[in-house]
Symmetry: C2
Subunit: 191 residues, 2 copies
DNA sequence: GAAGGTTGTCAACAGCTGATGACAAGTCCA
DNA sequence: TGGACTTGTCATCAGCTGTTGACAACCTTC
């Protein structure tokens, strides 16, 4: 993996490489289980460089979180088909170059106190507040937090069971029910 | 915390102490962030003893998971009020001596590959299968997995935001909506 | 009271982690 | 050409991890 020829001198590109690789690894393995040396090796760089560019591992993690598309995709498109769109998105594997990694990063970093402090701080302003505002209507905060919980829960269920152990038919029904559930949280304002 | 007088010689009690303390710590901090020395210190014992009694840290974790009440409490009592009962249980802090720690342990250990392998193996047989059977009816597996996802998601949301940032009124409405959602997954068999 | 097994402690290990400061190599400008 | 700055590497640090084997203290049994 590490090329024999020396790495081209390009601080900006190297920095971007590190950030992208760190995002990928944090999403795949979580904060605690990825070392700076792992990331450095994959980028083809010495670990000391990461420390110099990003300060500490915590700082790197913070910048990775800030570089994510924190669910802005949740708030695009037709409101009438929102539930199904989100449900299908959660149920299918995201493309590896996607910036939509905040969910897996959060899932896999729940155990790390340092990471959680950063996640809690950034997820509220960058994810919950916008979602609440976008949903709108009566009790928007309650409905939005519940909807977010459902999405996170399904994602977590997939993690635990290793991608839901359901055949295609059942998976389709799961998705449908999941979608209807989200949609009703968006539409039904009365409790 | 560590008493000055030597620990009474009682292998069975010591073993139980270790198991209980390990469960508490794994639930609070997750697999990766708890060291054998942490657990040992809290029990008032040397870390080497844990290795001798339980083999490896992985083995200890497995036995901790097996000692948990893996959600059998989900399947008790009146079916008509099941949703609300579960919702309230999830929304309130569990007692510290509770054996219902499998959910927080899972949450906080999602990032650890070794722990996840154990969790995935044991949660299916000890949690999902019984729940599916208990729910019964058409598409029980789909409904049960979705219900479990919702429960896990709400628990996770509480973790991330540090106990939902809602006032008591909103929290009550959240719980009600949460409860209705679970109940409909139990009752409404048609998709 | 001596032998033998049980229960627990202690010291040490190899391996890993994040971080630091010294150093080499490339690039740019005067 | 020569100094100054940037970009990247290397060696090393202290601290932590799970695990192991030797050892001490205690209890039981003969």
């Amino acid at each position: 993996m590490r090329p024999c020829y020396p790495r081209p001198r390009n601080a900006e590109a190297t920095r971007a490489d590190i950030l992208l690789t760190a995002r990928k690894r944090f999403a795949r393995d979580g904060y605690d289980e990825v070392g700076l040396r792992d990331i450095a090796r994959e980028v083809g760089v010495d670990a000391a460089l990461i420390s110099r560019y990003f300060g500490s591992k915590e700082d790197l993690f913070l910048q990775v979180m800030q570089s994510c598309d924190n669910g802005e995709g949740f708030m695009l498109g037709d409101r009438a088909t929102w539930g199904r769109r989100i449900a299908e998105q959660v149920m299918t594997k995201p493309k590896p170059e996607s910036k939509m990694d905040s969910l897996p990063i959060m899932l896999r970093s729940l155990g790390s106190a340092k990471a959680m402090e950063i996640i809690g701080r950034s997820s509220d302003e960058r994810f919950f507040r916008p979602l609440i505002e976008w949903m709108g209507g009566k009790d928007a905060e309650v409905r939005a937090r519940l909807a977010a919980s459902v999405v996170m829960g399904v994602a977590m269920g997939k993690e635990i069971t290793g991608g839901l152990p359901l055949d295609d038919d059942a998976k389709a029904r799961f998705t449908t029910r999941f979608a209807r559930l989200l949609q009703s949280l968006l539409d039904d304002e009365d409790c």
